[in-house]
């Protein structure tokens, strides 16, 4: 976090430059992984690999993009791991999800820096990322797996797409909420700041702590 989260003109710094950079490192590598992965997933989507420079190129670069994604995920764990622990507030948030979906936001308990849904997204990507890494390493070097350890490959071919599908589900919801649904959220991860009204509506606990801290420093 920046030392001075409360900025002028009614706006609040939500994500520091470092946080935004790591987010986009993860996002760009993930989108490449998802597109090339979908090309290998279904013959009806194989054309994606053709568009991205040919399936041989995709097969060679997909694992390296995975390394970048895992690196970004570890950085995110370092930045946000502690802030992602589940609290009582999150349980209340999950109970209020029907209200959240119907945009009855005044009935949704206000969250700390991250709400329950964001924490679910984080841990979903984190644990799926570990599964994707383990199975992905096996699929990267199939020729190094001897015949008597072939069960590792059998494990990998089912775990890798299953974990990837879970992340695609999270990805669809994350992108939808972050761009189309929750106006202001996309700006927070591009320019870094949100309006005070936004901060109070969705993350009041966080905003109030920031405001207290800022007042304390004066």
């Amino acid at each position: 976090m920046s030392a001075q989260p409360i900025v002028a003109h009614g706006r609040v710094l939500r994500y520091s430059f470092h946080e935004r950079l790591v987010h986009w490192l993860a996002a760009v590598s993930y989108i490449y992984l998802m597109l090339t992965g979908l090309a290998f997933w279904s013959s009806w989507l194989f054309w994606i690999a053709t568009v991205l420079g040919g399936a041989t190129v995709s097969r060679e670069l997909h694992p390296w993009a995975g390394v970048v994604f895992v690196f970004a995920t570890l950085l995110m764990y370092g930045m946000w791991g502690k802030q992602m622990h589940e609290t009582e507030l999150d349980k209340e948030f999950f109970r209020a999800v029907p209200h959240y979906i119907r945009n009855e936001d005044e009935l949704v308990p206000s969250a700390d820096r991250f709400n329950g849904g964001q924490k679910l997204l984080f841990w979903g990507f984190f644990w799926c990322g570990i599964l994707l890494l383990l199975s992905g390493l096996i699929l990267w070097f199939p020729n190094l797996i001897p015949w008597n350890l072939r069960y590792l490959r059998y494990f990998a071919v089912i775990v890798h797409p299953s974990a990837a599908l879970l992340t695609i589900g999270l990805f669809i919801i994350h992108v939808y909420i972050g761009t189309a649904m929750e106006r202001g959220a996309f700006g927070s991860v591009i320019r870094g700041d949100v309006s005070v009204g936004w901060a109070k509506r969705y993350h009041r606990v966080w905003y109030e702590r920031m405001a207290r801290d800022a007042a304390g420093r004066k």
């Binding site: 002028a8 199939p142 071919v157 919801i173 320019r191 005070v196 007042a215």
Partner: protein, 310 residues
């Protein structure tokens, strides 16, 4: 015979139908390997290298006559030597020519994501097309016989072609041509099954091999390479020939139920969020009613604004 040989029945990673499939009269080709008359001379190994222009690889000595532990990307035909102690204490030296079995239900083709990298011809030959291969190695996980092998230099996978280039010209595969004992035969599947069964009957009735039989595993839909074994109840003794080979269940699960569930979930998810937007629209945070606390400076790139827009 020759024109129909290159008619394709199935294509890996291919969206849509197979061009021309089922148009002509079909017939299957088949190799018959009689392990009971193999003498382990390895003429077939040499003929395979010669015909396919492969260089001779380094051999591995492991206290047996076997050239190397398993087939390699540039060594497609390997006789497996196994000393087998029978129940009565007598010793048998089992020799089995190992190569691609050309399954009727090929696990390699099912697992392959690359359009056209693996084709199955109408005559049963399963052939890798290296110009379409992307080197992912999924075929190695689909195969129950440990046959497709990855070349670290070419970064593609190779295996026995059943000498498709010879077969199209009406010739038998190179290994068959080189066999000095006549333990290798080539013809239609029906003929080879008949010949194999006749030999197995002979072994049972006249040579004291009560369990002699033909190996044509139904778990992969039958194969276009069939064996005559002295003891068909114990194929594992012949250098690990699987007793009941199947495409691994995880590969099957991945390629059919998971694929359809996953596709439905992805389409459902995209449609779901779109419909949600139509029904409920965006969330717009109200502008702040109080004066915001003033502290610090404006971050670069952020302009004072009312309300929020992405």
């Amino acid at each position: 015979m020759s024109q129909a040989i290159l008619e394709i029945r199935r294509i890996s990673g291919h969206a849509g139908s197979v061009p021309g499939a089922g148009v002509r009269r079909e017939f299957d080709v088949c190799k018959l390997i009689d392990t009971t008359t193999c003498i382990g001379c390895k003429a077939c190994e040499v003929a395979c290298l010669e015909w396919n222009g492969l260089s001779f690889s380094e051999t591995t000595f492991d206290n047996s006559y076997q050239t190397m532990p398993e087939t390699q990307w540039n060594y497609w035909n390997l006789i497996k030597f196994n000393e087998h102690e029978r129940e009565d204490g007598t010793l048998q030296l089992l020799m089995r020519k190992d190569q691609c079995m050309h399954c009727e239900e090929p696990g390699c083709l099912v697992a392959c994501p690359a359009d056209g990298a693996i084709v199955q011809y109408v005559n049963g030959i399963v052939d890798f097309q290296q110009d379409h291969c992307i080197g992912c190695g999924y075929c190695m996980s689909g195969c129950p016989f440990n046959i497709p092998k990855f070349s670290p230099t070419a970064r593609k996978v190779f295996k026995c072609t059943l000498c498709v280039d010879r077969v199209t010209q009406g010739l038998e595969p190179a290994c068959i041509k080189s066999c000095p004992t006549g333990c290798l035969h080539f013809g239609t599947k029906t003929e080879m099954k008949e010949l194999g069964e006749a030999r197995a009957t002979q072994l049972r009735d006249h040579s004291g091999f009560a369990n002699a039989g033909v190996y044509d595993p139904p778990g992969v839909g039958g194969t276009h390479v069939v064996y005559v074994l002295h003891d068909a109840t114990n194929p594992e003794a012949y250098g690990g020939l699987p007793k009941d080979p199947h495409i691994p269940w995880t590969v099957r699960l991945w390629k059919s139920p998971l694929k359809w569930l996953g596709n439905l979930a992805i389409v459902g998810g995209v449609v779901g969020v779109f419909v949600h937007y139509l029904r409920f629209g965006p969330k717009i945070a109200p502008p702040d009613e109080e004066t915001p606390p003033q502290s610090g400076t404006l971050p670069r790139g952020s302009a004072p604004r009312q309300g929020d827009r992405p």
